[in-house]
Amino acid sequence: MAKLFNEEVQKQLKEILAQTQEKITLVLFTKEGSCPTCSETKQLLEEVTELSDNIDLELKDLERDQSLAKQYGVTLTPSFVILNAKGEYKGVKFNGIPAGHEINSFVSALLEMSGMTPKFQENIVKRIEKINQPVNIKVFVTLGCPHCPGAVQNAHRLAMLNENIEGEMIEAQTFAELSNKFNVSGVPKIVINDKYEFVGNQPIETYLEQIENM
């Protein structure tokens, strides 16, 4: 099969991934039978894994590995989570292939999960730490959307900084039904706890305001 990453991209990714500090694990769920973009996603993760010794990949099946899927709240395929060095799920999830522009939110999640913690102002960190109710953030994206990776990155950063928060990218075309359910016709669209929504690549404060006012 032809590689997804050409030589140049491979080289660049390798350099970027050299900044990973701790081991991380990608756990990908696919399923047998019809599973649009499953094989491409698997290929993408395999190619990424090859570029860094710090990244491991585990392949799971949504049906056969039900209990694990349940533990990570995985219900769609393809879907993958990134586990930290201790093998813990921190709420960082991708539903669908993070290709196109979304490769950037993927790379940033890899780096940040492996120890390159982003710098936030102290008051922001405090506000994030204070959140004590379960929060699920869905970020609907398309792969041609240049403003979407920033939105996904925000959701994932919130998740990494607070156990109560889960952030998931949803590639809107693969999961058209879910996108329809949430009336997505413009991206990035952010839906919090399936109820509160806003659009656009907003600063992290917008997420916090929404969450704090729930």
Binding site: V9, A99, H101, F120, Q121, T142, C145, P146, H147, V199
Partner: protein, 333 residues
């Protein structure tokens, strides 16, 4: 569409921005104007850096570019990667994902505050902040934003597969939006208040499509719908009649508003809010330059923005060598 769109600048850290006490030139905006300015400034030996929310600017909103000299046809984001690659090879620090919140003139220097709390000082400054999509300002537009109304074709076209969409506008970006959408939408209706301004080469492609209807001299009056938009009301200037057009989507491509708010109280702007610059790209404040779509320059194009950026960098170099004088005691602020 390109399968992998890696943003190379994602590797650049902000460490340089903590280290440099006073910059020769800080560039706000990482579109064609800002990137080319960085290239020229760095080669002249200036200590320069780019601060930008997003790198590549509007290049990322356009699919095909076929009027940049040297490239017969290139995707906007590929051209952006070429630009960034070139700038990266000169190791110009790029501080990404931050917004400049305010600019203060400190005679002769400038103080720039960022939204992550950082404060930077520079001897000269370049506003290369470009533009953002202009709104129609009609009833319903805001309410149905992202409920059918979109300002980004490359982002949102897939949601309008087999649907009827309207494109508002008659310039090159509208024409490109029509061509992009023609792969997805079942039918496209163009509504434009005057005559076409788009290049003939694009119009020829549009008129060769069989799923496009064009209404020129037609004013868009209102967007209506229920939870999602269901259509628009228009006024046909020729027949002097109002009518409605049913459609599930509306892509608004009527040009840009300059992102000049940071300096609007500091420098001269025209009634459209565009920054007025002299032949060397200098604003009415010495040491403060502007280039690209944010200026009064009429033809908003990549090659023109890039060229203006180069001019600004060269002029800033000359200004630093000939005119700029450190504060009387020579001390850093």
């Amino acid at each position: 569409m390109k399968l992998i769109n890696l943003n190379l600048e994602s590797t650049v850290t902000s460490s340089d921005f903590d280290r440099v006490v006073k910059w020769d030139l800080l560039i706000i905006g990482g579109g064609p104007a800002g990137l080319n300015a960085a290239l020229y400034a760095k080669r002249k030996g200036l200590t320069c850096g780019i601060i930008s929310k997003e790198i590549g600017g509007q290049l990322h909103n356009t699919t095909d570019v076929d009027n940049y000299l040297g490239y017969k046809l290139i995707e906007g984001k590929d051209l952006s990667h070429q630009f960034v690659n070139h700038v990266n090879s000169l190791e110009v620090p790029i501080y990404k994902d931050v917004n400049v919140l305010s600019i203060e003139v400190m005679n002769p220097d400038f103080k720039i505050s960022l939204d992550d709390g950082k404060v930077l000082y520079s001897k000269t400054l370049l506003m290369a902040t470009g533009g953002m999509p202009k709104k129609l300002a009609v009833p319903g537009e805001e309410f149905y934003a992202n409920k059918g109304v979109s300002y980004c074709t490359t982002c949102d076209a897939p949601f309008f597969k087999d649907k009827h969409v309207i494109v508002a506008g008659g310039g090159n970006s509208a024409a490109e939006a029509i061509l992009d959408l023609s792969h997805w939408a079942q039918h496209i209706t163009v509504v434009h208040r005057s005559q076409w301004r788009a290049d003939k080469i694009l119009l020829d492609k549009i008129y060769a499509l069989n799923n496009v209807t064009v209404h020129l001299e037609t004013q868009l009056l209102e967007v209506f719908g229920e939870a999602q938009m269901t259509g628009v009301k228009v006024f046909d200037k020729t027949t002097k009649q109002e009518k409605t057009i049913a459609a599930q989507g509306l892509f608004i491509e009527i040009g840009n508003l300059p992102k000049s708010h940071l300096v609007r109280d500091l420098v001269q702007t025209n009634p459209q809010g565009e920054i007025i610059v002299d032949e060397n790209q200098m604003t009415s404040v010495p040491g403060l330059y502007a280039a690209g779509d944010v200026t009064q320059q009429v033809f908003k194009q990549i090659v023109i923005s890039a060229a203006d950026g180069a001019k600004a960098a060269l002029a800033a170099t000359q200004y630093l060598n000939q005119t700029y004088k450190e504060n009387s005691n020579g001390e850093i602020i």
